[in-house]
Assembly symmetry: C2
Homo-oligomer: 116 residues x 2
Amino acid sequence: MNTENAKSQMRKGMLEYCILLLLHKGPAYASDIIQQLKEAQLIVVEGTLYPLLTRLKNNRLLRYEWQESTQGPPRKYYALTLDGEEFLRHLDSAWNELTNTVNILRSGSVAEVILT
Amino acid sequence: MNTENAKSQMRKGMLEYCILLLLHKGPAYASDIIQQLKEAQLIVVEGTLYPLLTRLKNNRLLRYEWQESTQGPPRKYYALTLDGEEFLRHLDSAWNELTNTVNILRSGSVAEVILT
DNA sequence: AAAATATACTTTGCAATACAAGGTACTAAA
DNA sequence: TTTAGTACCTTGTATTGCAAAGTATATTTT
């Protein structure tokens, strides 16, 4: 029962949201995504990211294009589809609800939330 | 790829945190917890909660006491242990990091966060 | 040209956990 | 005695994050 496992579990589901949020700003390829997430304090490894990207693509939330690189093999640049944009808005709602829930639980009883 | 599944996945790990947050305010038994979480907009079912409570108890984060009820069978009232309180503080940090991450990703680039 | 290195993408096996569905046990009322 | 209500528990399944190892392409070094 360590903190690392707890944090890893918190990532579940959140990661999908974070990827979509990131791609909403513009296309990116895997290493790119990992780097940007790291800058946002979220550590993700390849073995997690690649299957996730594939899954999102298979569900038509993402699409990709091959692009040549000047420094190595070509890259798969992923971008949101229209379905992906819509799904992202649903996840926005889900996230809002979740933060609201935590805030209520954090600040004491529901009554206290109303009073303070 | 539906929204319900996504929300269910977001719950992973968060639920543990929410239970500890709730019990931090005082002892409660299972139906109690389900009811309070529902008031905080978080739907949890018995099949999820009971194994979770048992797991937390086995890891010494929770303890329980049987208490008679005037309206049915006795209840298991769960409460945080000292280990549980400490673990809760770690989860507080993890939650703070996660919300920070999402906020960064939501508001555009890191630079934009600083500028706005 | 061959070997080594770097970059990028992929796969496999495992562990953790939410949930549906069903079950057990005790109490009180009809 | 039967029925209804409350509370606790278990089993099987699906999903997903991750470690570890593998494949492929491009560049640099020897």
